[in-house]
Symmetry: D2
Subunit: 262 residues, 4 copies
């Protein structure tokens, strides 16, 4: 990573001032920092497409949290951004990681014997979806509460990955899940954008353990944008006042733990 | 602070298991940890009255933030609490620190010559309020957007401090500010609860630099309470949906920086 | 929770200024906020003993993080405390929650038929430890890297709970685990302090989902103490310099993902 | 910002899937989100050079904090990143914002009458440095504890801004400060990299209030890189153990507040 002497600063073994600044784009640099190898032009394009897909979704809980925290503590931009990122957990931003991890687990279980055509991928996908259903689990990346007829980010990212010759086994399996799941589940669900991002990041060879980290990086850019908008068109105080007005504190009703004996 | 050997754990030089657990209350312990001296029974009572005064104020931004973060990342209670605390900055929770710090600065400027009666405190307070007004600054701890006729926490805390013989120079000066400010400002404002808490903490001899820390400790208990309520009567999802429904993203209207030349 | 009108502030249905401030201790209040019922004197004592047991353990990662963050951003006490709390996750502070949750799950599985004497508790404990071992899982709350011969907090908290007649099924099962596990595991491990705290909190009838929240509340008091010490005897800059000196950035060695095909 | 209907997602008024993903780089998008106008190719290059300059500086407090938090709570990547960002306050990452804000204030005070040549910039700079010195304040962006003979990022960023015809009044004034300050201060200090980044961001017309936000965005990419390295070559546990070994808890020595009277 970074290191410095009195006269030089290196980053990733490069001369920061001469060979990185002005030469390496920010998406490219973020990839490089995480993988410690410089991505190709095509890898950078897929990676930046993922970051764009995840950067901002309007008034999500993370955006509201960043704006409210800025309202309360305007002297601490770092606090407002950090608070927003803390919402990037299992429920909202976690799908990217969950999908990448899930697909990766299935692929590893194949023992190196990866399918060579769509029909074979469909077989693997069918087994996979059946197993999840039998275990009573959802398949990560499947379904979306708004884009019920299809999430437009999914075909877009698949197209970009194909254009750059980076459509690998994670995307292949994810696509096959999209084809075969109605046969098992009895209804057609969309492959969502967060999920396809996880598949694409995994196909880029990035560390599976850090997939959520890339979603959070994308979201940081979105939250800076939310703060820029809040500065110009503040809504946080109205949000606070309307919540305060429309909610009544409950209770005090004593909490009753599970009765352990009858 | 804490230290341990294979057979013993000490905290603040005490045997944790024998002399602290079951013997020292939580407010007393928090005081002890911050001041590294065991508070008297009266000091503990004033300190805990301050913590009670600051623990929870209903649907504040910090409470909303904790609930929304829990909605987004229910697997991370620490994230939900941390996000809420990050709103404890200059605007909402900062008044306690600002007031204590302000009063302390005035008292130090007296060079050891502290007033001995109300009339002399009034003189100091009058000079102080005039100086702030002339400098175009607000006097911290003065005014409240709801309790315009008086914040009930202020006389309560002053009474408790008097009962425990802990009504020191910070509270004396704060009280005098309450008496004399109408003469300068032309209107009567309440001494608010956050402000009186700052004065009382300073009179307890706690570090001025950490006054905000005590407000945050109090608020942590409040936020755990908010989470307990959210578990039983969830409102975060409705808050999110109503914000999403009632707000439109603005723009894109390009940001125009200050014109530096005509 | 909290609510206010121009002339009054209520907290938990009480008049904050008259009936809470100066009357309710901080531990008692924290319990009340979380359970929405006022604890008895004995419940408060056990609860505060738990908070004391978890407040501070010296230079833990959370304490180091709070001090380093304060070094970097001294203007934001809330940021330093929040950063420290974020370390309160699965590995360090999580044992309290994990143990409470684990014991609770076992007790619920008994279908209301709770053991009436030690021999019967031992039977349940034996079954439980065997099942965990067979599943290749650790029993939460068992083992400590320093207190190998016994964690002094464990008997202390058990004694206090017994004195207050609050030694319930969670503590009973935990104690039985301590008696029987050598028979299954072939070696004697201590019941650790974090674990016994989880058992005691569960026996107090507090929400199982929030047990980590109480550990975090205790730790907030400890972190305020760490900041107080850092103000007087700063070590953060030395920590930073020594880490910087003793560690070399690695690489750049390209990350190699799992090979999925041979 | 972002908005979505069942069939389309827009971001900044664009069709996300068609016109942003695969078409807009991540640095370009971050600029666009913050300024709500699409940057030119040259603006993007300068902006990304700034982000590269600020992304990672090795084992800084923020990096150590992220690694220690990940050690403690490996289940919460968002917590580890948020904790690291919380160190992005006044002392370390704040210089970028402070410098931009300072230069902007001076430029605004000129009332639209901006210098047209180096000699006139030198006059403004001389007045400015003198005024700061007389007020006993440091000039932000001047001086560096390692790069005493010059920070290599400074000439690099100035060159890039000139190449892109984006060397505006903030950079001009900053450069002039570099030329004239020895005349006032009696010694030559380097213009540091964090400072020149603030000047460049201000010349790009980005909101002055958010300059710290861009430093934090850059740092988020760096912290993801730190986590990637920690996964492969863990050092956090050794850091923790060495701090624990080399530091002794102080006290308990009672805190003594300022004596207010003799």
């Amino acid at each position: 990573m970074g290191a410095s002497s009195p006269t030089a600063i290196t980053l990733l073994g490069q001369d920061l001032a001469e060979d990185v600044m002005g030469e390496v784009g920010f998406g490219e640099l973020a990839f490089w920092l995480a993988a410690q190898r410089r991505p190709s032009r095509g890898e950078t394009r897929v990676f930046e497409a993922v970051l764009a897909a995840l950067a901002d979704h309007g008034f999500t809980p993370t955006a509201i949290v960043t704006r409210l925290t800025y309202l309360s503590a305007p002297d601490s931009i770092q606090g407002a951004l950090a608070a927003g990122l803390l919402g990037g957990g299992s429920r909202f931003l976690g799908v990217t990681e969950d999908t990448g991890r899930f697909l990766h687990g299935v692929l590893r279980s194949l023992g190196g014997d990866l399918p060579a055509d769509d029909a074979s991928w469909d077989e693997v996908a069918l087994r996979t979806v059946r197993a999840e259903r039998e275990a009573g689990r959802f398949v990560p990346g499947l379904g979306h509460h708004v884009h019920k007829q299809g999430d437009p980010r999914t075909p877009a990212l698949m197209r970009i990955a194909r254009e750059e010759d980076l459509f690998g086994p994670h995307l292949s399996l994810f696509e096959a899940v999209g084809r075969v799941h109605p046969e098992v589940l009895g209804k057609e669900l969309p492959l969502n954008g967060a999920g396809v991002c996880g598949a694409a990041l995994a196909d880029l060879g990035l560390p599976i353990e850090l997939l959520r980290g890339f979603a959070l990086l994308a979201r940081t850019a979105g939250l800076v944008g939310q703060l820029a908008e809040e500065l110009r068109e503040p809504v946080a105080n109205d949000v606070f006042l309307s919540v305060d007005l429309n909610n009544r504190s409950v209770g005090p009703t004593p909490y009753t733990p599970d009765p352990l004996s009858p």
